[in-house]
Subunit: 326 residues, 2 copies
């Protein structure tokens, strides 16, 4: 274990905020955001001093039908440019590409022709060779890259260490610690964060943190993770994201002391656009079913289905989950 | 700092859960719970294996009018007995009495004549002599006592240490670490929890923890606090409590591994009674205004008023709070 980095009254210039509202929030509404929402979010991120904005996925058009999703499932270059023009701002733009669910050789163009700055490669530990191939490819095209190793709470420690070793030997810039199931308790998170940070620092890489709120621990785990040395922080407006959602951007802007960060533009965005998104019927956030899948260290799909069907028989869901485990 | 107590797969028999739903939740609905709600909650606590249930306050009938509140503001002996009879169960019963807002010499009767087991004395640091007088009085009447030193996030460390010294020299059984404003970050909470636990252990007392959820840290801080050695844990059903509410009882039952604890009765209570309480219009839980007062280390009253008036101008509230501080 290393010593705590930073304290509560100063700020660490190495910390960068990444707004993942369109990408993780797109999992709530099938990426059907209004153009006005996306444009307002872009302007909000610029005004708030947030360093990165993620637009969505580069998903395969062979595997997914265009008509089943909004445009941010695919993030075509011209759709991003329609929002940001040449993006003459300090805000860096990212997209995510899932190993095995994208046609990266076709859909990711050389950096010099793109407004995108950073490609985030999402992988499970069992897909590491595919992830490494994509990291190499995107790096050679000229992009900054991150690797987001998902669902590690369900992995054996040995596999996590091996995956870390592999990505540390790759040209990736940032290695993300991801709690896909919202299952990690702070004492587990700290142990992993120190392992990631020690491995990454030794080879000059950074560590990012992406938490889910199934057990109302997304904010706590995020600030504990940065105290352990993580410096890239994923958050979304009011936590909008799959299931229980993510770490809240307004909480991070309120917590971090970097004078570049401005809370007011983000609060104004929430007042108007998050309120409208909820009024449209988008549902996310902590609820009993997510607490149960989080505590059981399970994918939230059973909880998502339960809530979509507007069920409230929590004790029945608990029995079902117990039965599935045994 | 001491070493962590306990781990994630075993359980500590010293940990006791206290259901504060009627008391802290009563601050949401002026203690106007239906008799059915209170009876069902009592039965739920017994079935769930929860160790303590708090009924409400012993408030002064001189200072507060009976007609302005439900009966749990006053907790008359006969009202508790109407729910629990002789309480022939393992569940211990508590009430809270605020220094300066109760007539303890009149309203607290000898333990031998009461079904109440434990008197919880709530105090600010500036009221310590009054708290010590009440501790002595209740102890001599035969009760177990706890002292809940409130709003310490707004106190100087020197005053907190002095207050600890005073209560450690008193006959009180349990000393509660209370985050009234939901303002403490885990790194601050741990430091305080170790200070409380070291002081209490030296004189054979226990430490309790009572957190608020203004920054979505109630559960995180509670489990961090017990890892530091606290053993009495306040929680409420679905976090029902003033403003942003408390630590969620269902999360504690899901987290703790004591085989006496049963989650199902608590989930059934939530499905029916918490849903009904919300349908009646009771509002509590994390929201932007509470995040702001928590981050500013302020009493949540401005946030409570803002939400009661159904305002959503978060950026305006933020400016108001900034102005008040400066």
């Amino acid at each position: 274990m290393a010593a705590q980095k930073g304290d509560l009254l100063s700020y660490r210039p190495d910390i960068k905020l990444l707004d993942a509202t369109i990408r993780d929030g797109g999992l709530v509404n099938d990426f059907r955001f209004s153009d006005e929402f996306v444009k307002a979010l872009y302007e909000t991120n610029v005004k708030s001093g947030i360093e990165y904005m993620e637009f969505g996925y580069k998903a395969s058009k062979e595997l997914f039908k265009k008509e089943d999703f909004g445009k941010w499932k695919f993030c075509d270059e011209e759709d991003i440019r329609a929002v940001v023009g040449e993006n003459n701002t300090d805000l860096k733009l990212t997209v995510m590409a899932d190993v095995g669910r994208c046609d990266f050789r076709k859909d990711i163009i050389p950096k010099k022709d793109s407004v995108i700055d950073t490609i985030r490669i999402a992988t499970y530990t069992h897909q590491m060779p595919g992830a490494l191939e994509m990291i190499e490819y995107c790096h050679e095209l000229g992009y900054e890259t991150t690797v987001n190793i998902m669902a590690i709470s369900a992995n054996r420690e040995e596999d996590i260490s091996k995956a870390l070793e592999l990505v540390c030997a790759s040209p990736v810039d940032v290695i993300y610690l991801v709690d896909s199931y919202g299952s990690l308790y702070p004492e587990q998170l700290r142990k992993l964060a120190y392992e990631y940070c020690n491995a990454a620092e030794a080879v000059g890489k950074k560590v990012g943190i992406h938490m889910h709120n199934n057990q109302q621990l997304a904010f706590a785990n995020t600030i504990e993770g940065i105290a352990c040395g993580a410096s890239y922080v994923d958050a979304t407006m009011s936590g909008m994201g799959r299931g229980a959602g993510n770490c809240f951007m307004e909480q991070m802007l309120s917590f971090l002391k970097n004078p570049n960060y401005k809370l007011t533009p983000t609060l104004k965005f929430i007042e108007k656009y998050i309120a409208e998104e909820k009024a449209k019927g988008s549902v996310w956030g902590y609820d009993v079913p997510y607490m149960l899948t989080g505590a059981f260290n399970r994918h939230p799909r059973a909880a998502i289905a339960f809530i979509k069907e507007q069920k409230t028989d929590y004790s029945g869901l608990y029995q079902d989950l117990l039965y599935e485990i045994s």
